[in-house]
């Protein structure tokens, strides 16, 4: 361990320091009410972003901590999304929690810890790192979901999340054990090298099956999705947003890291498994979302559907392993690019949307049914607009980030079909497209409620709570970002493409 290692985990250390700072301040007096607490958390995350920015130009795909993590564009980019989403969550939560008298310092600590876990997952190239990144994240989220523990839905959500989540962790660990047994290595690169060229041993396949189940649970891929609607619905709304955005980012990061190893062998069976999983996920997510009465729950199901689209890109991913270094890369940058952009777009829109829902939620819970949005345009025109844009982005309408994301994912599928000549990829793209048509239906119900319905008379006189600056800032920023990213990745100075460029150059420098 040397300075390079420390520098490399600086993005994690900043939030860690902030979290510890908050804990340290939590003496006799309650910390929640202190303005310092969220400030500190924000500083921690900004620091993390700063650290990523500092690392950006020079990162070289280097292994740190003897291969525990790797510093590359992919991981850092995920780190950015995670940090941004966490930041947004914190900003949104301040007022949300205050109104519900739950402004605990621990909340921020847990968000920061979860963020660390997520970043770690994105950076990891070792089973242990993945597992513990995932656990740090999960355990924080179990608790965050139950933050409103005196409310039965929140407690129930927490409990269910914990039970199913632990079970999934069990599967993951067991799978890792199998994989370890098959290869004698806990290192992704090591496994990769060992597997290069040959067929994976049955034990490894078995292990991958279990690991796939464990990770699929986190992204809520069918059939490991059933926990999600309940948990999302019961959790505090800002936390739901955080889960929807962050967990997805981290878990997909991990999935890509893990399964790129296997793809080098072009495992048809794994591909077809993921194919079915992807189709099932998007279909079930979308269809079930149609029947929802609560916007929050609808978004929960839609989050399942989005996992399906992302899986689609993973199905068609063409991994490539550098046998000399064990470092994995991607032949089909399209697919990973697509996923990254998708995650970014999805994360922003989701956090924004849940932020608005959090604002609209009644203090005692509830108030998030479709009918509750009726005519809201009259009372909150800007929020209505923002929510509409977020919905459009999630639905993948051009002009929003979601469209470019959707484009990237489907482009990956089409490209793969083109280069491999595998028509099932094409079919997958078509199924995905049909699914997004179903998705349109429920996303559009939101703007319809907002704009086309009239405000119920009973609500005419209702006084909406004040909109604190932090909230406004987050919504406005997400709104602008959603629209801005809708113009494509290249309008940003840093974006997916540069990140991928970095990945590539990293590969080259390693050879």
């Amino acid at each position: 361990m040397d300075w390079t290692d420390i520098r490399g985990i600086a993005p994690l250390l900043w939030p860690l320091a902030a979290a510890l700072g908050i804990l340290a301040m939590a003496d006799k007096r309650r910390t929640g009410s202190k303005p310092m607490t969220p400030m500190l958390a924000i500083v921690g995350l900004l620091g993390s972003l700063f650290a990523i920015w500092r690392l950006w130009p020079e990162e070289e795909g280097t292994s740190l901590f003897r291969g525990a993590i790797v510093l590359d564009g992919f991981g850092l980019f995920l780190g950015i999304i995670v940090a941004v989403c966490s930041l947004a969550t914190i900003l949104l939560s301040i007022d949300y929690l205050k109104r519900r008298e739950k402004n605990l310092g621990e909340f921020y600590v847990l968000v920061l810890f979860a963020a660390i876990g997520m970043m770690l997952m994105g950076m990891s190239r070792n089973f242990v790192t993945i597992l513990f990144g995932l656990e740090v994240m999960s355990i924080s989220l179990y608790v965050l979901a139950g933050l409103f523990r005196e409310r039965s839905p929140s407690a129930e959500a927490s409990m269910k999340y914990f039970l199913t989540g632990s079970f999934a962790t069990g599967l993951l660990v067991f799978g890792m054990g199998m994989a370890y047994g098959a290869t004698g290595s806990l290192d992704l690169g090591g496994i990769g090298i060992q597997q290069a060229g040959g067929n994976p041993s049955p034990l490894l396949v078995l292990g991958l099956g279990f690991m796939l189940a464990g990770l699929a649970f986190k992204v809520a891929a069918v059939p490991f999705h059933m926990w999600l609607p309940d948990v999302y619905e019961g959790a505090p709304t800002t936390v739901t947003g955080f889960m929807a955005a962050g967990v997805k980012i981290a878990a997909f990061g991990a999935i890509i890291r893990v399964f790129a190893e296997v793809y080098q062998n072009d495992s048809e069976s794994l591909r077809s498994t993921l194919w079915w999983m992807s189709v099932g996920t998007m279909t079930i997510g979308n269809v079930a979302a149609l029947a929802q009465r609560s916007v929050k729950r609808m978004l929960a199901y839609s989050s399942i559907a989005h996992a399906g689209y992302l899986l689609l890109a993973i199905v068609v991913m063409q991994g490539r392993l550098d046998t000399a270094t064990g470092y994995l890369g991607f032949d089909s940058s399209q697919s990973v690019e697509g996923i990254l952009y998708y995650l970014l777009a999805y994360g922003i829109a989701t956090v924004g949307a849940f932020g608005i829902l959090a604002y609209l939620e009644r203090d005692a819970g509830g108030g998030l049914d479709f009918d509750d949005l009726a005519g809201l345009k009259g009372k909150q025109p800007l929020l209505a607009m923002a929510l509409t844009v977020f919905m459009l982005s999630l639905a993948g309408i051009p002009g929003t980030a979601g469209f470019i994301g959707k484009y990237g994912v489907f482009a990956a599928a089409v490209e793969a079909a083109q280069t491999t000549g595998d028509e099932s990829f094409m079919l997958l793209a078509v199924l995905g497209i049909l699914n997004s048509l179903v998705g349109l239906y429920y996303y559009l119900r939101v703007p319809i409620q907002l704009y086309a319905k009239d405000l119920p008379e009973a609500r005419e006189a209702e006084v909406m709570p004040a909109r604190p600056p932090a909230f406004r800032f987050v919504v406005a920023t997400s709104l602008i970002a959603t629209l801005w990213l809708g113009f494509g990745p290249d309008v940003m100075n840093f974006g997916v493409e540069p990140a991928m460029q970095l990945v590539k150059s990293a590969l080259e420098s390693l050879n």
């Binding site: 179990y142 839905p153 129930e156 039970l163 660990v173 067991f174």
Partner: protein, 99 residues
């Protein structure tokens, strides 16, 4: 002794844990089932570490034990929170959220 036998035991323990998850409704027992599953997994690591003659597996078991501890702590505290609300530890009654 063949390592395969150990592996079979590990798998059995793991599966018994999973079975517990499926048949019991007492949350406390479910927690124990999770512990069983983790132990099954840990056993895999130990066995394979022996087989490969490298101690990474042991390290993993060390970590798994910590993991189990963390999960137990959080799980039990969540259980306490739930229990405060309902005075029940029956998982089948946690069905307020559905649909």
């Amino acid at each position: 002794m063949e390592t395969q036998a150990y592996l079979v035991v590990a798998t059995l323990i793991f599966l018994i844990g999973a079975t517990g998850f499926l048949v019991r409704r007492n949350i406390l027992v479910l927690f124990m089932s999770i512990e069983l599953m983790l132990n099954g997994a840990a056993m895999l690591f130990v066995t394979f570490a022996r087989q490969w003659q490298q101690m990474d597996g042991h390290v993993m078991v060390f970590f798994i034990i910590a993991l189990a501890a963390a999960e137990a702590a959080v799980g039990l505290s969540i259980l306490i929170a739930v229990f405060r609300l309902r005075h029940r530890v029956n998982v089948d009654e946690l069905t307020e959220l559905k649909g």
